[in-house]
Symmetry: C2
Subunit: 408 residues, 2 copies
């Protein structure tokens, strides 16, 4: 099915080219559709790489191989297949990935381990090797693609193309970071895996790049949820081509390390929020700010318990400031909280404080706030100084329609 763009969609931004990164797309016809569904990114020699992957114990071969590949720290190409997740396909799935790696490595003249592969789409059907092979040959010969074209080619049931750009100054030289991402549920194995790719012309030591990505991931991709479901294939990769005059960043002592770390977190947050904005059936973007937890990790768990509660999500869909459901979600999180110090605010207006409903608070600004598309929910737990912010969307009839009314 083709869905209209999410009401929370954002226009695709202007994004500069990244030296050392060449984008191409082709039709492998993984499904019966008329669109590019194979994306090929060639990376200049010397490109460093870091990655984070799904925690699923049923991860795809692409993820299993990717986890090993990032330890080497070097990348020369990325191939993304849309329409087939190649998950739960056993040895035949793995063979399909290795064939793509060999074919691409032969073309470039690199090691197969320098070729990263991602796949998203239907589960349980081995990726057809012949279509992949022909698609890659077509991609080698294709014109260069724009960022927006690449963002289109990697999507499955997304409703808008998602990209982000930022920059940082390193030793007086400007470096760029450009990213694309796809995903519209936290996952549906046959449709909505999250795949994100960030490219930068900065030079970053791979081990340090991994440290930076893991830190950025904790406060961005790990703080979003659409439906609490976790893909077998979620992947975020960062490629650093080192094609500017900026000095190489090796560790926190390197000039510009802080600036680059901040820029990487910024672009990861932008991309993560775009996935929530394309959440299946979403009509409202919800920011949940938790404070007063025993530590930041505890705050994040409370935030995700609230964000994953179907009763909280449906209440917000119904524009109902139902803080009773928020209390319930806090209670079920199992994290330390002082019931008699709890506070809950919608749009900056406290409806409950010190464990009691605020009497005679003005409902007008809250009702106005809930009618909007951007919802802010603040929760104070009253036991410490830990804090976290998580992002989610509401739960609507649209989610049910997308996932129940249409057969896979």
């Amino acid at each position: 099915m083709d869905l209209p763009p999410s009401p929370l969609a954002r226009p695709f931004p202007d994004m500069p080219a990244i030296a050392g990164v060449t984008l191409r797309a082709a039709r492998a016809r993984y499904k019966e559709w008329e669109r590019a569904d194979l994306t090929y990114v060639e990376l200049v020699e010397g490109t460093g790489v870091a990655g984070v992957f799904t925690q699923s114990l049923c991860a795809s071969s692409e993820v299993e191989l990717g986890r090993e590949q990032v330890k080497r720290g070097a990348a020369r190409a990325l191939v993304v297949n849309a329409g087939n997740a190649n998950a739960f396909t056993g040895y035949r799935g793995r063979e399909a990935v290795e064939a793509i790696q060999r074919q691409t490595a032969d073309h470039i003249g690199c090691a197969p381990e320098d070729v990263f592969v991602s796949s998203t789409g239907v589960i349980g059907v081995p990726l057809p090797k012949d279509r992949a092979r022909d698609g890659i040959v077509a991609a080698f010969a294709a014109d260069e693609a724009t960022w927006e074209q690449a963002a289109h080619a990697i999507w499955t049931t997304d409703t808008f193309a998602k990209g982000a750009h930022t920059c940082a100054m390193i030793g007086g030289t400007k470096v760029n970071l450009c990213g694309i991402i796809k995903g519209s549920g936290m996952i549906a194995p046959d449709m909505a895996t999250m795949l994100g790719y960030v490219f930068t012309d900065a030079a970053i030591e791979p081990a340090f790049l991994q440290e930076l990505l893991s830190r950025a991931n904790a406060g961005t991709f790990n703080c979003i949820t659409v439906d609490g479901d976790t893909s077998t294939s979620d992947t975020v990769l960062v490629f650093a081509t080192g094609q500017t005059d900026a000095p190489r960043i090796k560790d926190w002592e390197s000039p510009g390390a802080d600036a680059f770390a901040a820029a990487l977190t910024d672009i990861c947050r932008q991309l993560a929020q775009l996935v929530v904005r394309d959440g299946e059936g979403a009509s409202k973007f919800i920011q949940i700010r938790v404070s007063g937890a025993v530590n930041d990790d505890s705050a994040r768990r409370v935030g995700l318990a609230i964000a994953n509660s179907p009763l909280v999500k449906t209440a917000i869909a119904g524009e109902d400031a139902n803080w009773g459901r928020v209390v319930m979600a806090i209670g079920k999180a199992g994290e330390p909280a002082d019931r008699d110090k709890l506070g809950i605010a919608f749009g900056g207006v406290w409806t409950a404080r010190d464990g009691l409903p605020v009497e005679d608070y003005d409902e007008t600004p809250i009702a106005e706030h809930l009618k909007g598309e951007e919802i802010d929910l603040a929760v104070e737990l009253g036991v410490g100084i830990g804090r976290a912010t998580v992002w989610t969307c509401d739960l609507t009839h649209g989610y049910i329609s997308i996932n129940a009314d249409y057969r896979s």
Copy 2:
């Protein structure tokens, strides 16, 4: 709102009286409605009691007091308020409960701690003491109520009255167990807390009764889920009046202990399944049988991860044997499983085995099975002999309508 009975509803069973148990109901008018909303159960002197309560850290005063009361092991009365959960109401909520205990204790001539109180309904509003007081006076003077009338009086947004009956032989004497329960979401704080009460004329030492209830609870109430949300007030109490000639059961060595334990588990399972059958928006009752886990507890966690997955629940609502979503849910459970030995069966037909889709399986019986109201999903994890069965319902437009389209 008044909803039509769930399509999965069951008729109220014939249930015998339990000697030592007197049911009455009255109108306390906790909401603007014309129905009994205060249930008063008087219990003969010598009645033993055991209970299990919500794990929520934001539990109501009723739950906090109840946890202490069951340690004493003695009960003379139960008062259930419907329409007001009295949760998140601080000291005023606690005072309301204590007033009910004193009033009832004075009437019976017992200790206030022998009076158990439960409340369900809107959160954040202290239970009105005057309405409770007048309602209790009316209940003292009311005619005796039937089990079905009591099951009606404790409900909030339930769509059918839920009761169950079973019996056991103890030392050649038959004892009865009768139970009533309310709940239609695993919880919504303003509507759907689960409250269950079992009454038996058997004589059971309270400490052993608690052990039996905790065991029964693990495989019954703790194995159901509607929406994964946990109430601030969930409560199950068992009262044993000891009004037959059957010998007193003190421990596992007592004659009839095994029989009574089996009967208690049976009635708890019946009651738990009735809550799922009244799940908000439910159109299908789903049984998930997990085998091959490292242990039973791990199997239960995998089962609940599947049962709580909105993508699995919407797939079944859409009558789609989407085993890819089941694989996803297994993966996110974080429990040991062998991806290459996984098996998944709908209605007894394997769609995946040994980590691979079954080729050319017959889809006809699966499609027929999914059209029905009773869905059986079997999952083999391939790493051990642990097993568990959990029960849930599907996720439909009805759930969204109940929780988002109507304002609280």
